[in-house]
Symmetry: C2
Subunit: 214 residues, 2 copies
Amino acid sequence: MQADQRRAKRLPRAVRERQIMDAAVDVFSRLGFHAASMDEISDVAGISKPMLYAYLGSKEELFATCIRREATRMMEAIAGGVEPDQEPDVQLWSGLRAFFGFVGENRASWQVLHRQASTQGGPFAAELADMRGRAVSLVAALLAQSTQAAPATELEAESLAAALVGAGESLADWWLDHPDEPAGVVAARLMNLVWMGFGDLVKGNIWHPPSRRG
Amino acid sequence: MQADQRRAKRLPRAVRERQIMDAAVDVFSRLGFHAASMDEISDVAGISKPMLYAYLGSKEELFATCIRREATRMMEAIAGGVEPDQEPDVQLWSGLRAFFGFVGENRASWQVLHRQASTQGGPFAAELADMRGRAVSLVAALLAQSTQAAPATELEAESLAAALVGAGESLADWWLDHPDEPAGVVAARLMNLVWMGFGDLVKGNIWHPPSRRG
């Protein structure tokens, strides 16, 4: 905080890179990839533009690095949120809570990850496809671990995971346009959809987290 | 069939445009937007390149027109496939069957609609967002009509519809990479996920279409 310019320059590279990427995620999420400029990112990061290029390369490289970092942070949040000793429904619930909790607390990350990256296309489509692939594998592993009996085959687990990831992405994207809905409400909706299913929901049978069971 | 060149030129505009767009969807889906050329599209359509531009404009305009047409065809297939007099589960099932049936029979459409458009970004992102919005509204209306009691609010119906559309998109995208899976199997997986829910699936309770009920 009170460090002078010279001392600020001696920050460890990892710390400096984190600052730059925080600034970049902020700027990309607000302005979009095209309108975001390296000038603005270097301003927000409090670093010179040549240093910005030296650390993290071109705007395209910086954006790709942001996508990778935010995807990894999100995946870690989900994997870390799941409690493997719990019943399958509680595991799924904790995973969904972790996902929507991450998106709610990191709307800028989600903007960059999902919306900006998916509307830029080109080289970022590959980053995004890679991220989706990792998310589907993670969810398939969680499903296989928590359900044991079903799904029966690896293909089935993977396809159900793809459906679940798509549902989560799409609902999180919807949430960006309806930010007043609380994270828990949105997570509970998806939980009810995929755990109870419409078959129960139309009968008024709702899933409740353990803390709210009578 | 036996028409000479002069007569072929006198085809009604609507017929001619349909031929061009069929050719364009084919070429875009095989080569992707960037690699697709107006030369190849005019070759496949059997029309001169100036005529191609005169009818449907630039490659960008043609691609956007293809997205709109394929989206409309798909939406019509789903809306037409749902049998409104049936029980809610059969309505949902017929909608999912219509969707996966359309994707299975129109893989090129789906490639263009979903994959190509979403990896191109830019102006096509708006077309794609518009299509998704229409799909979510359609599904929300079907849900509201078929479930009546639940979902309780418009926001809830819309968010569940967003989740369901995302699940369907993502599973259809997964299916492109696993084309050997039959359409009915893929549709039944999503049906079981969203109608029965994992809660029933882990107990081995599976949803069966009416024709297979004992």
